[in-house]
Symmetry: C2
Subunit: 341 residues, 2 copies
DNA sequence: CTGTTAGCGCGTTCAA
DNA sequence: TTGAACGCGCTAACAG
């Protein structure tokens, strides 16, 4: 009864050709209103569903687009994905998600997988700076499969990206700590071979310099992006002869770990030590000791990345548009860094 | 150079037929070792990639499976998805994710979308109890497209599900509160038309009865699953003539809102009021006032759901296997409900 | 306005 | 062991 219904089935029933059915279904102009009506009704009653696969095979387009993120279970990334979906679904695109787990090899697999699945484009946040990526991206450019980076990008000619101004974010966070009276500000940087973390670090560094404070190598660590890493970093920092009185962390999770370790040692926040994180993960807000953090407006980032992709395909691949959208970061000041004035 | 390479291209190069190329690539037995070797080398050098779309059109299988969850940005669901991926990727399946946003109509769209995309199966957690679902699921059964429920299921003959024992979870949480000396335990239930919430409620109710405590309708609210709803619920509960001294919430987010509201009003937790949540979201653990919660082992749930799906397709649709896997919940006791003895 | 034909890329008959 | 032909379901080109 509900076996696969094709346009041939409905053509047969109506004693017309499959092509006519196709035209009726696709709102072609070259068809009479009556037959169109007939076809539509028949299709409805027979519970016809278009086979997207055949369409994809025919058109060379799958209407699927791939999204690659390091981790799906970070609010930042899941929110970006929501933004992408909200923008793309109305245009008939579906989103296939892969996780790179910040692993180069896994990321390579993700791209291959998606390309095998014949996606019409890839929106991604890179796991790391890899040379492998170069050749695969060259292939994509030749095949005219758009790739759009969000958040973590690579600078590749012809490819668009949507990022925030991470330098500015790092600068704002550090300036805020300085304004609060912190003199010895440490920085926990994650992996500075990735542009965003490098930029945040540079923002931090230049804010120090611009304010006449010393930049100190010993105050900067690269860590994993998790709670434990934050705890470890604090342990190391407090062992220094002249320990810091504040931390600007490029990761909220690291910031959280730092806060936990500091409190465990009886250090008062924010009176004796201030902490600022990055990403504005929801938990930073609802902790009793809420953590200041830099918001990256992930929903907008996702939506804009999707829009950039749509413009790319709209141009039919003839016009190469390379957009570099840079969003403004927004520092949310909370208890962890706000000394009562 | 890297235009689309088909088996015809490599057939032409080798002066053989496309069929032979196909055979070589698919490890057919009916081919000589030499030609196979030749084909494999040529394919490699020409950077041939199989067109999965054509394969899917031909075989009727896409190697994509759809996953539908209410929200992607809940750690519980994103972890389930990770479990599904970890289990399914090695078998060549890719995962397409859709969000139903707990909306019936949207959920209906998700299923249609996925079926249109010719997925080989759907793993889902339902948004609500809908009659629409029945007919669409009947179609899937006829078409022999497996559907597996996880967490939020519907009881439909022939369909498998992976859930936890929510009744037991509710019972454990409530028993724990009773053991801590709480006498008047309220329950925040989300939507009891959904089985899991009904079961948790029943576990709560029977724990009360089994311990000789009164069950009181006025102590049970249905709320949305967010922080604000928790705050509102507490406001209402505290207005009662004889207010409760504990809350068992079916949602961690609601529990968090409740805790926030209670503390805002200067009520001591856990001394004067205990709170237990459900889902074991990460934040429950790292709050300074950590919240007790019932863990649902989402990673296992995802993996098992995937395994159930794999067994289903392995049987080739001939054998109907209906599995109802029920995992054990695990209560994690934290500060919000542990009175110092 | 409608029908016929062809082809998207693949696997799988049926012959040879 | 290999090749030619076909069909999966659809749309686009060309006729009529």
């Amino acid at each position: 009864m509900s076996e696969k219904i094709t346009i041939y089935d409905i053509a047969e029933k109506l004693n017309i050709s499959a092509a006519t059915v196709s035209r009726a279904l696709n709102n072609s102009s070259k068809i009479s209103a009556t037959t169109r009506q007939l076809v539509l009704e028949a299709a409805e009653s027979m519970n016809y569903k278009q086979n997207k696969l055949a369409l994809a095979l025919k058109s060379g387009r799958s209407n699927n687009i791939g999204v690659i993120v390091p981790h799906i279970n970070r609010n930042f990334f899941s929110t970006i994905i929501r933004g992408i979906e909200e923008e793309l679904n109305p245009h008939g695109y579906h989103v296939i998600i892969c996780q790179s787990y910040n692993d180069e090899a896994k990321e390579f697999e993700c791209i291959s997988t998606l390309l095998n699945a014949q996606v019409d484009g890839i929106l991604m946040s890179i796991a790391s700076v890899t040379t492998h990526l170069d050749q695969i991206i060259n292939n994509m450019i030749k095949k005219e499969i758009p790739m759009v980076f969000f958040d973590r990008k690579k600078n590749i000619e012809g490819l668009s990206s949507v990022t925030i101004n991470d330098y500015e974010g790092g600068y704002q966070a550090t300036q805020h700590l300085i304004n609060e009276g912190c003199k010895k500000i440490a920085h926990l940087a994650v992996d500075r071979s990735i542009e965003i973390y490098k930029d945040r670090f540079n923002g931090y560094k230049h804010a120090l310099i611009d304010n006449g404070l010393d930049y100190n190598d010993k105050f900067v660590f690269e860590t994993k992006s998790n709670i434990e890493a934050g705890k470890e970093a604090v342990k190391k920092l407090l062992k220094l002869k002249n320990p810091p009185d504040a931390i600007f962390s490029s990761s909220d999770w690291v910031a959280l770990g730092a806060v936990q370790e500091l409190r465990e040692r009886g250090i008062n926040i924010p009176e004796d030590f201030c902490v600022v994180g990055f990403s504005n993960e929801p938990f930073t807000k609802f902790l009793e000791l809420s953590i200041s953090s830099v918001d990256q407006s992930p929903l907008d980032m996702g939506k804009i990345a999707a829009k950039v992709f749509l413009e790319q395909v709209k141009e039919g691949g003839n016009v190469k548009i390379e957009q570099k959208v840079i969003l403004a970061p927004k520092l949310h000041i909370r208890k962890s860094s706000l000394k009562t004035k």
